[in-house]
Amino acid sequence: MLKQVEGSQAVAEAIAMCRPEVICAYPITPQTHIVEDLGAKVKSGALAPCEFINVESEFAALSVAIGSSAAGARSYTATASQGLLFMAEAVYNASGLGLPIVMTVGNRAIGAPINIWNDQSDSMSMRDAGWIQLYAESNQEAVDLHIQAFRIAELLSVPVMVCMDGFILTHAYERVEIPSQEQVDAFLPAFEPRQVLDPANPKTIGAMVGPEAFTEVRYLAHHKQMQALDLIPNVAEEFRQIFGRDAGGLVSGYRHQDAETIVVTLGSVIGTMQEVIDELRQAGHSIGAVALRSFRPFPLEALRQLIAPAKRVVVFEKCLAVGLGGVVASNVRMASHGLSVPVYSVIGGLGGRPITRASLTKLFTEAMQDSLEGLHFLDLNQEVVNRQIEREEGSRRSGSVAENILRDIGLVATAKVS
């Protein structure tokens, strides 16, 4: 059924139809609306039997999900930003124990300085935690990926993180096709755990493992992700057959087939990019885009095939590996290894800075002229940066970077007015 709904509401409806059995909730912007909606649904009895637990921290939220999943219940939670970092220890633990928990990350920046707006630093910080990471382009895809996430997680006994851009998706009202319960039931069978805490067959879960076996355990975690490379497209195909639309998969391309310049990105920014690409194509430029839907496992081979014919690749991402550059770009460079395709790394949209069509048009035009530096920060205010660098060189007590910059920006604004 087509509905005009908020992204969070749409995701809550999708989760509800996946028949979750335990939902753990701890508030953090911008994922709150999802669990609020689910809480109301559980209370109404619509999801029975389902337990909704208000916990005291994100660390507890995922820990409760670890317990409920190990006891055989389909388990779900959602978080963002600082919350994801606060549960980091449990994030690694859930995958190490092979528990197919599904978690939404409403992507948001990480402080300090504290910032509630969207970028992808949070989920990227957990990229090596052993979870499958799927990135939604739109609210429709967020709905579809969540339904696929349970199937993938439970088939592999690996937890899945569905990442959706905070506010841009979670709080946006869009037209979303909400599937029927019959469709979801046909697609997602009941959870059959590989191991379960049961007095009838007592098992020890989470034993200590030393050097004699640890490498093999880690290798098998990697092996599961390699299996996921095959499984994710198959699940997307099954999904297409039942729901009648394309969603999921490892990568998706947009006007990339004959493109000399290919932009690689992930998440909701692909929507803006498609418009910019259409405009540039109309002006006669050869440009297209590839969106990564699965970041873990990273689709090295699938991506390599898509970018191999291009003359250059521009990786656009909303996160920064401080001291190195682009996180996604580093991964893309692994996929382009041996190809004579230069990979430009662009960081943009940090802490919710708008990514405008004008900025992207300028960026892509520069890229197509090969006049971009290897690492580029979109819309960086170099004047403000320079002023702070001067301040630090001039005075030992130069004060807080963030507050100085805010003051500078205020001054700039005042100067413009006067």
Binding site: E21, S57, V64, A213
Partner: protein, 333 residues
């Protein structure tokens, strides 16, 4: 509670002499059909109080739950010495996740069992004092305030033993640990610090809180059994000496535990919904020196009478506060 404390003067302890009791009054440990939930062959040190405490508690819980039990375990000695992969000493479904989340994992297990309509299966969370009073405290308090259907058992050996005897918030004043070294007149652990988690648990108004000691098997089993009869959040803290960490003879584990209680340093009580309903009175008050002298962690206090006096004052206060002695016996020795 139906349990009547009986002291066996032939042996000087409360834990043996089952043959002198009626069969119904005998301990779970004395029965042939005890579950041996924590089986032999684990890697605990000789004289480990925690290994005994866990065995006693879980066997009693298994009896009370008709063998329908799941346990979660915090990281620590108990976890390490029972589950060196690929071996396990546990004969019950058991999960270890992290150091600080045993209570939350247990909440999750209980929720799953409820959803599955298997509420007859009971859930226990367990950990040492570090995993309970320090790093696991947030999850513990959360489990308490939600009144989740979990019995949390803390095996209190008063320091981080697994990592090499560092101070926890359950370490008593004066005790030497690797991170509280005594120096001249300065005690090991500072007086006036640390927290009393049983009292904090009571402040959550949960259905049941108790302290117990590994030396008093009847009392420990009775408290676990009582806790298992109730639902909601329950907490039992069991005093379990650590020969290695305390610098004590392995053979003295039970004696030290008994003296901790009889000196007034470790009051045993039960509380329901925030109210104390039972305290274990002391028939004979032992001197704190008798308790301290068996442990090298307190060796320095004998060179510093003011430290010894401070420890005495703590015992005196416990006796007053919990009414451990009959009024006519008073506080004086």
């Amino acid at each position: 509670m139906s349990y009547q404390q009986v002291k066996f003067y032939q042996t000087g302890t409360l834990t043996v002499g089952n043959r002198l009791l009626d069969e119904q009054q005998r301990t779970v440990q004395a029965t042939l059909d005890r579950s041996n939930s924590l089986d032999s062959g684990h890697r605990a040190c000789q004289g480990c109080g925690e290994a005994l405490g866990a065995r006693y508690a879980i066997d009693a819980a298994m009896r009370a739950a008709d063998n329908q039990l799941v346990a979660t375990n915090a990281t620590g000695c108990l976890e390490v010495f029972t589950t060196p992969y690929p071996e396990s000493a546990w004969r019950i479904p058991w999960i270890h996740s992290l150091f600080g989340n045993a209570a939350a994992v247990a909440t999750g297990v209980a929720a799953a069992l409820k959803v599955k309509g298997r509420e007859g299966i009971r859930v226990i969370a367990q950990g040492g004092d570090g995993g309970t009073t320090d790093i696991g405290f947030g999850c513990l308090s959360g489990m308490f305030e939600r009144n989740d259907d979990v019995l949390y058992i803390c095996y209190d050996n008063q320091a981080y033993m697994n990592t090499g005897v560092q101070r926890s918030s359950a370490t008593p004043g004066a005790a030497r640990t690797a991170t509280t070294q005594p120096l001249g007149p300065q005690p090991g652990a500072e007086f006036g610090k640390g927290k009393n988690v049983p009292l904090i648990a009571m402040a959550h108004m949960i259905p049941y809180v108790a302290t117990a000691s590994v030396h008093d098997l009847h009392d420990l089993e009775a408290k676990v059994t009582r806790a298992m009869l109730l639902h909601g959040a329950r907490y039992i803290q069991v005093f379990v000496p650590c020969p290695l960490g305390w610098g004590a003879r392995p053979a003295d584990t039970m004696k030290i535990a008994r003296l901790a209680v009889e000196s007034g340093l470790y009051p045993l009580f039960e509380a329901e919904h925030g109210e104390i309903v039972n305290v274990t009175r002391l028939r004979h008050r032992a001197d704190v020196e008798e308790y301290l002298t068996l442990q090298r962690r307190f060796a320095h206090v004998f060179k510093h009478p003011e430290q010894l006096q401070h420890i005495r004052a703590i015992a005196d206060q416990n006796i007053r506060k919990f009414g451990l002695l009959d009024a006519q016996e008073g506080v004086a020795r």
